[in-house]
């Protein structure tokens, strides 16, 4: 069967390696998913989003994967850089709603 990525509260990555951050969401009615990055002293900043009718979406150095069967979302960061060190949150919005429901967050630390 499918394997579901484990959500880890912290992730240490060597500079230049790829990072994978996992998130399990709870609401099967959620229609829209977003990844946010929060750096120290700043508010959450939009990275990439995906609608429920898609499985994958790519941005600049980032890819989001959505598996609706197991309600799992992942963020892949290619060639991780020191500036990628931050807390990463996944968030979901149910259909016809506005409010974001956030996951627990993963603190990513990039090692030089």
């Amino acid at each position: 069967g499918e394997s579901v990525g484990l959500h880890l509260p912290t992730l240490s990555v060597q500079e230049g390696d790829n990072s994978i951050i996992n998130c399990a969401y709870s609401n099967s009615a959620s229609d829209y998913f977003i990844w946010y990055k929060q750096e120290s002293g700043k508010g959450p900043q939009f990275i990439i989003d995906i609608r429920s009718n898609m499985d994958k979406r790519q941005g600049q150095r980032v890819t989001v994967l959505l598996n609706k069967t197991v309600k799992h979302l992942s963020l892949q960061i290619a060639a991780t850089q020191p500036g990628d060190s931050a807390v990463y949150f996944c968030a979901e919005i149910p259909s016809n709603d506005y409010k974001l429901s956030f996951g627990a967050g993963t603190t990513v630390t990039v090692r030089a």
Binding site: Y36, F102, A104
Partner: protein, 114 residues
Amino acid sequence: EAGVTQFPSHSVIEKGQTVTLRCDPISGHDNLYWYRRVMGKEIKFLLHFVKESKQDESGMPNNRFLAERTGGTYSTLKVQPAELEDSGVYFCASSNRGVYNEQFFGPGTRLTVL
């Protein structure tokens, strides 16, 4: 274009005191949201304004919290009287009309209740 701003950036008060947080959304954004992150846990929704009207206040913890958005521009969030468990970071966000429009977050106000 200026982003979402919040004031103050930090506030330290004693239990039982009153604190008022302010949020200035991006100009022209009808939607304004308050969220908070307590003790390093997940960020949780508090409430949502559309212009000056409260659209959804299902996340407000209790009646010690009062949010207003008079005139549909800036918003205030008052905590009275503050309790220890109210400590955390309070974020404000704003967005254009439409359900899937990006919510832009302010830098947050870190509230510490002693």
